[in-house]
Subunit: 166 residues, 2 copies
DNA sequence: AATAGATAGTTCGAATTCGAAGGAGTTGGT
DNA sequence: ACCAACTCCTTCGAATTCGAACTATCTATT
């Protein structure tokens, strides 16, 4: 019998880490089915549409979308291409920066978003929102907001690895 | 200005949804870099190793892993294949069920896991754990645990068949 | 036992993802 | 005006992911 080395247990405060990952994965999975059925959309595509519809007065660049959705830029190029091909979004050259491309919802895209949203809301409610009462839900929102602020305040992705030797 | 913006069409209690998704994506992204650098592992591969090392006395089947990591079975087959090819895990036929395959850490896999874990813990701590004080972190853990229980009480992920409700 | 229906895992093709490399535009210092 | 460094986005190839179809095994009912 191979002696099984017991891997070092993680510190107990890391329960929050695993719980977070699993909850988020389960929510995404639950939502993906609905989006596919009701609108033929992948989760990422839905996120792009939702973000574009969020505030039409401030158009979103590819980089804005990639940062917020935590997606690679090349992946975004691909998905925005798919959505554009389907006539759901339009690429609009930025007036201020000739390098940038803004992505806006087309009328068709806005209509699809509205068609998909009720079912989406229902699934998220069933799977996530209804798991907690109002007080606990507000508390969870507050705590996640704190984490988000903490993360956003940290250095960008160009984080150089601190050489540990010294 | 609120920390968490929500598309106008969504009820306000859905802030928790967007916050959850973004936090989780950022944590994963932060962790991926460290895993790749320190161990040449993808996040999924690390999760598989970590889960196998969690409690060697209770071996994990492919389905166990797929359910817990919220991954497709075919994707798991691929990744376990990669890990086995690298000599990090071993496929062991289940003694109780000839259909099932259990995945166990090899000595090499356990060693790699131990080598990668300290840096991993450091990144998770920096990015997530340190965002909150002890009280808030425990509270977040508790709330996520409640959501998890709620989700798990619902039909399994594998439950997917066209069976007419007679 | 014998059958039907679930379950475990794999294989396959198609779609998606990422990182690296590259083209084009912008910025700031001189 | 110039040049270097930076940013925005796309293209490309390789790796990963999923769902559907399939084989083999288990379970429950008859």
């Amino acid at each position: 019998m191979p002696d099984v080395t017991v891997p070092p247990a993680l510190p107990p405060e890391f329960g929050v880490y695993f719980a977070l990952l699993e909850v988020s994965a389960l929510v995404q999975h639950g939502v993906e089915g609905q989006l596919r059925r009701d609108g033929g959309l992948s989760f990422v595509q839905f996120q792009i549409l939702a973000m574009c519809g969020e505030d039409p007065s401030s158009p979103k660049s590819m980089t804005d979308l990639a940062d917020r959705l935590v997606h690679s830029k090349s992946g975004l190029t691909y998905q925005v291409g798919q959505l554009a091909k389907a006539g759901l979004v339009e690429r609009v050259p930025s007036p201020h920066d000739d390098r940038a491309v803004n992505v806006t919802l087309s009328a068709k895209g806005a209509a699809l978003l509205e068609r998909v949203l009720p079912g989406h809301v229902a699934v998220v409610r069933e799977v996530l929102v209804d798991a907690l009462d109002d007080v606990d839900r507000d508390e969870l929102t507050r705590l996640l907001g704190m984490v988000l602020r903490h993360m956003r305040s940290q250095p960008r992705r160009s984080a150089r690895r601190a050489s540990p030797p010294s």
